[in-house]
């Protein structure tokens, strides 16, 4: 071999592969010494994490059983029968069993309105929005509360689980958007009194934790009202959450308002439009469209913050899981962990979906912007 190559003309080695899995691994995983060490460390971490999850969730998990004793043993993993046994509670709380179809119907009605509203291609956005923001809330209210048309009344103290989480989140979202718009407009108003009131409210609310606002709603609101007048506990939390997120929403929308060129304001004034017309027809449609990602981010924050209502004694999804974790029938070393993993997964699904949706919208708007304003 050696003798042959020495006599033959020098043969160039073929170039290193630039395509294929080997080349990809060399470029992306082992491009240098440091990178190789990081990759090996990363493989170790990924392996440990994946193995831990599979071991806990499947291999050593319990899938059948009637109480916590089934999950009580050395090295036991997830206690899934706990979740199946409590699933209805996690979803509806103590909502009476024969009436739970009403909750399901509300979910179906909500999906029927929201899905076409969120898919940009579906036409008829105006009537769709009228349904979602005007007709659906009324329907949902009477279906959930009952007391009319022969539906038995179901008090909010019986509501719980995912139902409360979704009610607080959606009322918070629906309430915070209009209040936020008003506050944002107020903050940019030329009238000093209106401006200072808006700034005062926004900065005050943004400076304190949600817990103190909820404490205020639950402890101080009864003191503010005339004697004898009481508020539903859920309603108090709803007011607190809506006002709290309105302040954050206002700051997001203010960002959008500031991004609108001055010419738009002046052109609207030159057309002789009144203030509500200028804002409603010219400025806000553009400003809100610009800050859709920010608004969705605020929604995500709001959705996660709904879990705080358990501190003032409402049983949202996390609250009901926390309550059931203390159930002596299901006592086992892994009950609590299983409950939190289940609740965490539900929260994660909603938030992850919302963030992906906002990224999709962001991309859509970005392409529209690059083609120039004429095509939008």
């Amino acid at each position: 071999m050696v003798a042959e190559t020495a006599s033959a003309p020098p043969v160039e080695r073929p170039p290193r592969a630039t395509l294929g899995p080997i080349a990809w691994m060399r470029d992306n995983l082992f491009s240098s010494w440091g990178n190789s060490i990081l990759t090996i460390l990363g493989i170790y971490i990924a392996y440990k994490a994946a193995a831990g999850v599979i071991e806990w969730g499947i291999l050593s998990a319990t899938f059948t059983g009637a109480d916590g004793s089934a999950c009580t043993r050395e090295g036991a993993g997830a206690c899934w029968p706990y979740v199946t046994a409590k699933f209805a509670q996690f979803m509806y709380g103590r909502y009476p069993e024969p009436e739970r179809w009403r909750v399901d119907l509300v979910y179906i009605l909500a999906l029927a309105g929201l899905v076409p509203l969120m898919i940009p291609r579906v036409p008829g956005k105006f009537w769709n929005a009228v349904y979602v923001f005007a007709i659906f809330p009324v329907l949902a209210f009477f279906l959930l509360v009952g007391g009319v048309l022969g539906f038995p009344h179901v008090g909010t103290e019986l509501w719980g689980g995912l139902l409360v989480t979704l009610v607080v989140a959606s009322v918070g979202i629906a309430g915070s958007l209009p209040i936020g718009v008003l506050l944002a407009l107020g903050r940019r108003s030329k009238m000093p009194v209106v401006r200072w009131v808006s700034i005062g409210f926004i900065e005050f609310v943004r400076g304190v934790p949600l817990i103190t606002v909820l404490f205020m709603a639950s402890v101080m609101l009864p003191l503010f009202l005339p004697p004898g007048m009481t508020f539903d506990k859920l309603l108090r939390a709803l007011i607190g959450v809506a006002l709290f997120s309105a302040a954050y929403m206002a700051e997001v929308i203010r960002g959008g308002l500031q991004a609108i060129p001055r010419g738009q304001f002046e052109a609207a004034e030159a057309l002789g439009l009144s203030y509500p017309q200028r804002m409603g027809l010219i400025i806000l449609p553009q400003a809100l469209k610009l800050v859709i990602p920010g608004i969705v981010n605020t929604f995500i924050g709001l959705f996660k913050d709904t879990s705080l209502v358990l501190i003032i004694g409402l049983f949202d999804l996390l609250g009901i899981v926390q309550l059931n974790n203390a159930d002596s029938k299901w006592f086992s070393p892994t009950t609590a962990m299983t409950g939190y993993v289940f609740a965490g997964f539900i929260f994660w699904l909603f938030c992850f979906f919302m963030s992906r949706y906002s990224q999709m919208i962001e991309r859509r708007l970005a392409t529209g912007h690059e083609r120039g304003p004429g095509k939008a």
Partner: protein, 398 residues
């Protein structure tokens, strides 16, 4: 305003009704706003006063000097149940500041590491960082706190079956027990050496900067600093005969004695807050670094800067300008989120003051207003400091 004056000067405006003049309208709107707000507050205050009188609840801050009569499990300043409500407030406030301060440091370090890892050219590292961010960011903080506290730390073994850690530490359901350092005679000199090292390295940094500006020559600042801050105190420590003892925790009866203990409430809160906030800081850091235009990096390369120099001298100073404002609001969020301590029983301000003190005195208005006031003040101080810092970092434009 241009329109206002244009309308006011036109002849038609003279005939226009008094109420159609913009400045009159603005005045009316503002007066209405003021009247509504004053009325609202007046109704609230009279209602509250009537309700308080009916329920025989005292008002005012007289209760601050009364004896609290409860114990607090963790206190940075001496506290027992014979001390006043005012002292309890201080204990809670210090606990809040402790967990928020440590949390900010941990979250920043972890967030920067993960944010940079997300931009790594190493595919696996970037993926792992993405998975971390997407999982942690999308699960409520309260749930994560419960997870760490109830599912992880509270299911640890009891003291007798403690997990033994290296260097004399123990981990059990009561907390993390670590050996406590006990300074002996002469340790003060070691601390002085450390202080001198820090001051000297600042001086070296200034000298090196001046020298580079004047002559273009660089000093090995990093090595000099390391020697001054690490080797100098270490040398003094050995020369002084190692004047630092350790108090090891020992199992006595049913519990550990001695050493220092991190309570599970504190550990869970610190872990939860740092891990959660780090995922947001990571995204901010990533956005900041990506926000530095590619031309800047190419220019740095063209000037012959090394990779490290490019990062340190070109990319990071510009990225920091993008990073600092949102980072500030994350610090504020972390401080505000530390109030979730009340849910896992860490004796922070909200738990001690708006929890125990409010329940004992019943003076909801005063207690909640003070709590809100404290958080508002913390927010204003933090954002004031960060604005000042931001101004120093901001681009000085022509």
């Amino acid at each position: 305003m241009a329109v206002v004056s244009a309308r006011g000067s036109s002849s038609a405006a003279a005939q226009a009704s008094f109420f159609y003049r913009p400045e009159v309208r603005q005045a009316i709107y503002q007066i209405v706003t003021v009247v509504v707000i004053v009325l609202l507050f007046w109704i609230l205050i009279t209602n509250t006063a009537a309700n308080l009188a009916r329920q025989n609840i005292a008002s005012g801050f007289g209760f601050i000097d009364r004896t609290a009569g409860f114990d607090v499990s963790q206190h940075l300043i001496p506290f027992d149940n014979s001390m006043t409500y005012g002292r309890a407030f201080l204990v809670g406030l210090l606990n809040t500041l402790l967990v928020a301060g440590l949390g900010i440091v941990l979250a920043t370090v972890l967030g920067f590491i993960i944010g940079i890892a997300r931009l790594s050219t190493n595919w696996l590292v970037a993926r792992l960082a993405t998975v971390y961010v997407e999982i942690v960011r999308n699960v409520p903080l309260l749930l994560q706190l419960f997870f760490w506290y109830f599912a992880v730390l509270k299911s640890l073994p009891p003291p007798r079956q403690s997990a033994t850690l290296p260097a004399g530490g123990f981990l059990n359901v009561r907390g993390l027990y670590l050996p406590a350092p006990v300074p002996e005679a002469g340790f003060g000199i070691v601390m002085l050496a450390l202080l001198a090292g820090v001051i000297a390295s600042i001086a070296v940094y200034l000298v090196a900067r001046r020298r580079q500006a004047l002559t273009g020559q660089r000093l090995p600042v990093l090595w000099i600093t390391l020697a001054l801050v690490v080797l100098l105190p270490l040398g003094v420590y050995i020369v002084m005969g190692r004047p630092l003892g350790w108090d090891y925790p020992e199992l006595k009866g049913f519990n550990f004695q001695g050493g220092m203990v991190l309570q599970p409430e504190f550990t869970a809160l610190l872990l939860g807050l740092s891990i959660y906030t780090a995922s947001f800081i990571a995204e901010i850091v990533r956005a900041g670094i990506m926000g530095v235009s590619k031309g800047q990096k190419e220019a740095a390369r063209a000037m012959g800067l090394s990779n490290g120099q490019m990062l340190r001298l070109v990319v990071i100073p510009q990225a920091m300008r993008i990073i600092i404002p949102p980072l500030t609001s994350q610090f504020l969020n972390l401080t505000k989120n530390s109030s979730l301590a009340v849910a896992i029983g860490y004796p922070d301000l909200v738990s001690v003051w708006s929890g125990t003190v409010l329940n004992q005195t019943g003076q909801a208005v005063e207690v909640i207003l003070v709590t809100m006031g404290v958080f508002l003040t913390l927010s204003l101080i933090t954002s004031g400091f960060m604005n000042w810092f931001n101004k120093h970092m901001a681009l000085v434009e022509r």
